[in-house]
Symmetry: C2
Subunit: 160 residues, 2 copies
DNA sequence: TCGCTACTATTGACTACGCAAGCAACTATA
DNA sequence: TATAGTTGCTTGCGTAGTCAATAGTAGCGA
């Protein structure tokens, strides 16, 4: 009776295994490239990117955390690093003194621009190497359904 | 001219972003469940699983590392934990004294069996909740192409 | 047999997170 | 206003994983 259940489960379980492998393999490669070329992790990049498209290039830390799927403490530490590198600044919020904005600096914008130039090419190389256009579209769509609830905009290039 | 390049890249880049979100969201949830219910991480589970299906329920550490996409040192530390918990044992290899087998113990088999009972259900719940059968098959296939080269057998249930 | 290179495994130092706990500031309720 | 509950952020501590360096073993060619 267990094996009955198991065979029904095989599909989801197989999909998960494939997800684990695809993620490990692609992030290892892209993270290595991004950090060698620019000293950034993928999460760093994602944060800079979100900030660059936010109004006034700033966001509350909670919101940022939610968008890049980190916890509150994760975002604090990540931003510590970006602040030390001068890519992000802190800004206070009139009207609610609990919140501390993360604000993209000029240096941060520059960094994002130069990092994008190589990173986006590398991402696309990796994926186009293995899937054709139709497949890429489909996999993005299906993975979107597996993401956390609100399928936020997931485009990955800075606006300008 | 940059924007030209960017629009061509959008597909792979979007797929990658979706992969990151889908992975973070599903592993966080499943890891939490697996560790709450059984004190195992997903990697622990994967290792126990591979061992359970290997001849004589044992594998060289290098091979294990490659299968679960960890580095050599990563496997050493992971196995340290499983050894401390008595789920895995060390075995030496006549003929090549460099290699140390990781051997699944009886306790390890039991653990894997009981963990599977809940874990597989949870994995499947998560995925079936969001994708139908045809979609699951398709996403597993596409993700398979993104995995590291040799698309090893990725089934996720113990044999017995 | 001696060295040379390749491979397996481990260790130390480090990073990137997560969780739980805590503080400070806001909101609501009375 | 007091009091209670909630939210935003930070901090201490623990864990999982990486990389670089090391040691032991294997196997080869001179």
């Amino acid at each position: 009776m267990m094996s009955q259940v198991l065979s029904e489960q095989a599909l989801g379980v197989r999909a998960f295994a494939a997800l684990l492998r695809a993620h490990a393999s692609s992030t290892r490669r892209l993270n290595a490239q991004l950090s060698a070329d620019h000293g950034l992790t993928i999460s760093d990049y994602e944060v800079l990117l979100r900030l660059s498209r936010a109004p006034e290039r700033r966001m509350r830390r909670v919101d940022l955390a939610e968008e890049v799927l980190l916890t509150a403490s994760g975002i604090t530490r990540l931003l510590d690093g970006l602040e030390r590198s001068g890519l992000v600044d802190r800004g206070s919020c009139d009207g609610d003194r609990r919140v501390v904005y993360a604000v993209l600096t000029e240096a941060g914008r520059d960094k994002l621009r130069t990092a994008s130039a190589t990173h986006l090419v590398q991402v696309d190389e990796l994926f186009s190497e293995r899937l054709d256009e139709e497949e890429l579209e489909r996999v993005a769509e299906l993975l979107g359904k597996l993401g956390d609830g609100d399928g936020a905009d997931t485009a990955c290039a800075p606006d300008d």
